[in-house]
């Protein structure tokens, strides 16, 4: 600048007013200040916002789906597993596809082209085209390269055992939340936690750097059930057969390991296929073993006898006055099927005499009898943790009338679930312990609560063994090679709307355990409204017990405790030679 004003170069000298240079200087200064201010504004005040904006152009948060735990049986066989599937969704605003592409898409989706077209032209920003497609098919769809069409990673719950264990397992909804059964009860254990992580992606969408894990994904834990698939299959198959043959309304079966209290099998018929939501309705999805209650009938007699023995009111060989086969309490009459003469206490169980049981029950103070039933687990939940479990009904003893006390001894006026009944029988299968039951695998023997003395338990066990002898009511329950103990039950059903009982509708049941010398498995069967002419527990339910128990003992490799010729069951001649 100064050169311009060099006085020696007169020719170039222009007499410029001084304000012009000031103006330029001022202008530059102001520009500088503006720039600095802008820089401060961006760098200091707006830094976070701008950095975030910058990062959002290459930083991405990726969702990491967690897998729901699987459900396995006690031997590790899979009962429920989550398989990855893809759901196809579109953003109709961004979709651009040729008619040909839409045609191919519709084919791959198994959908009508018009329906697909309609969904593509919806005015929402998120429309599912189809949920839960197998991965291979989804990949083919991805290869169509349709803009605005996206795949979402999801899991589909699959139950390979189909209806076999459907009532135990329950099912999940389309979003993978448990709705029934074990899926619901152990929902917290089974569900994992979805993870999120922040990554940097390059221009073509590859992840190039892991910036940080926001939340790591946690897979759901597996649940190992106490169920044995083979026993479960056997139980379901035989139950289904019996219900169909007897033209019954429904049936249930449950088997427990006596030592550990584990549920080895639990099945109901009719059942449903959890893989097909369409097959479900309220009638079939109910786990009747736990959710339904019924009047158990004669299967309850051993409890009245046990408490009478325990309190010393009777002995096994005490003779009861039962001849005539009927007794009168007030206006009510209790009848036996036929007059069996005078019976000992043992014979009361063996021949299932209502009159005998009622007479024994009436020897007891109501409170004592109530305590026995209460401590045997009637009227309270079993603690198995199954959703919707029924607790049954055991009315308070101070409201009992004598007739009620009498009928309760043979299982009327009290309602129980099949699970309560089978658990209560652990008293007689063990030496008087009520075993805690579980649906989860338990390796150690469970210690139960002592309810009756060892002597009483053994004495009742002997009576129950007599009941399945040829002279007893439950002879159909016998098994080749094993000693069996058990009790039949045949109860009239209660009328639905009125008081009283239906004369022609029954619930037939059988509860028993084997081998009687050292019980391993205890099993209860209930058949609702058999209507093929037969309805006694001994003819309807006991044969199911025999078939399922025989197979179960074989599966569990339980040694024989009786001679093999104890009854003739197998019409098929032995093909294999005994090789020792």
């Amino acid at each position: 600048m100064k050169i311009l004003f060099n006085p020696s170069r007169k020719s170039a000298a222009v007499d410029l007013p001084e304000w012009r240079s000031r103006l330029i200087q001022g202008f530059l200064l102001i520009s500088l200040i503006i720039l600095v201010a802008r820089a401060v504004y961006l760098q200091a005040l707006n830094k976070d916002f701008l950095q975030q904006q910058g990062q959002s152009r290459h930083l991405r948060v990726i969702e990491q789906n967690s897998q729901r735990g699987s459900i396995k049986d006690r031997n590790g066989e899979i009962l429920a597993i989550s398989a990855p599937v893809k759901s196809v969704w579109v953003d109709p605003k961004r979709v651009s596809a040729t008619s040909e592409q839409i045609g191919q898409l519709a084919d791959l989706l198994d959908m009508n082209k018009a329906t697909v077209q309609e969904r593509l032209s919806s005015d929402k920003r998120f429309v599912y085209l189809k949920r839960q497609l197998p991965p291979e098919r989804a990949n083919k769809i991805a290869e169509l390269n349709i803009k605005g069409l996206y795949l979402k990673h999801e899991f589909y719950r699959y139950y390979p055992s189909r209806e076999l264990a459907a009532h135990i397992l329950g099912f999940t909804d389309v979003d993978g939340r448990g709705q029934e059964g074990v899926e619901l009860a152990w929902q917290d254990v089974l569900t994992g936690e979805d993870g999120k992580r922040r990554v940097i992606k390059d221009r073509i969408g590859r992840v190039v750097e892991d910036v940080g894990q926001i939340r790591s994904p946690k897979s759901g834990q597996d649940v190992v059930l106490s169920i044995d698939s083979k026993i479960q299959y056997l139980a379901y198959r035989e139950l289904a057969r019996a219900v169909k043959e007897q033209h019954a309304k429904a049936g249930s079966i449950v088997a427990l390991d006596v030592k550990t209290g584990e549920v080895l099998a639990m099945a109901n018929y009719p059942a449903f296929n959890p893989n097909q939501r369409a097959s479900m309705n309220n009638e079939v999805i109910r786990n009747r073993v736990l959710v339904d209650t019924f009047e158990p009938g004669s299967t309850l007699k051993p409890f009245a006898i046990a408490v009478a023995l325990e309190t010393g009111r009777v002995k096994a060989n005490t003779l009861m006055e039962t001849s005539g086969g009927m007794m009168r309490i007030g206006r009510a009459v209790i009848r036996d099927v036929r007059d069996k003469g005078n019976l000992t206490v043992s014979q009361v169980i063996q021949t299932s005499s209502n009159v005998g049981a009622a007479k024994i029950a009436l020897l007891l103070p109501p409170k004592t009898f109530w305590e026995m039933l209460n401590r045997s687990g009637f009227g309270t939940e079993t603690g198995i943790g199954f959703p919707g479990e029924a607790s049954g009904q055991l009315r308070a003893y101070n409201k009992w009338r004598p007739i009620e006390q009498a009928t309760m001894s043979y299982g009327h006026g009290i309602s129980v679930s099949l699970m309560q009944l089978v658990r209560a029988y652990t008293l007689f299968a063990t030496d008087g312990e009520l075993k805690p039951i579980t649906l989860l695998k338990r390796d150690t023997p469970a210690v139960g609560q002592k309810v009756i003395s060892r002597e009483t338990a053994q004495s009742v066990r002997k009576m129950l063994e007599l009941a399945v002898q040829p002279e007893g009511t439950g002879s159909g329950a016998r098994i080749n090679g094993y000693r069996v103990a058990g009790k039949t039950g045949t109860a009239h059903k209660r009328l639905e709307k009125r008081k009283g009982y239906a004369s022609d509708r029954y619930i037939s049941s059988f509860v028993g355990f084997a081998p009687a010398s050292d019980p391993r498995v205890i099993m209860a069967i209930m058949i609702d409204e058999p209507s093929d002419g037969r309805y006694y527990g001994g003819t309807v339910a006991a044969p199911v017990f025999s078939r399922v128990m025989e197979g179960t003992l074989r599966i569990l490799n339980v040694p024989f405790d009786d001679s093999l010729g104890n009854l003739v069951t197998s019409p098929v001649p032995a093909r294999l030679e005994d090789k020792g």
Binding site: R206, N480, V572, G580
Partner: protein, 96 residues
């Protein structure tokens, strides 16, 4: 003094290039890891599907049907086998 400066400048340049290379390597390795992880996921998926398939094929109902109908097998009568208790004290350890 100048020599020292030039030396330091060279060191600086080499370090700079080193960082660039290391960064590049790290991204490359990271991508490999990413691919390996995807492979893991893919294999896990396949493993699950195979397990599912195996379980489906081994369902007792199917096995029984094949054994009885196709192979003509029958259940041996109890007399055909012997069950020996290994631990006579508790029968739980019994095998065939």
């Amino acid at each position: 003094m100048i020599k020292l400066n030039i030396f330091l400048f060279m060191v600086l340049v080499i370090c700079g290039l080193g960082i660039v290379t290391a960064r590049y390597e790290s991204r490359k390795l990271f991508m490999e890891q990413e691919e390996a992880q995807q492979l893991t996921e893919q294999l896990e998926t396949e493993w699950n599907q195979l397990r599912l398939e195996q379980t489906t094929l081994a369902m007792p109902a199917r096995v029984e049907k094949i054994a009885r109908k196709e192979l003509g097998m029958t259940m041996p009568p109890p007399a055909a086998g012997n069950i020996l208790a290994i631990h006579p004290d508790h029968s739980s350890g019994a095998t065939e």
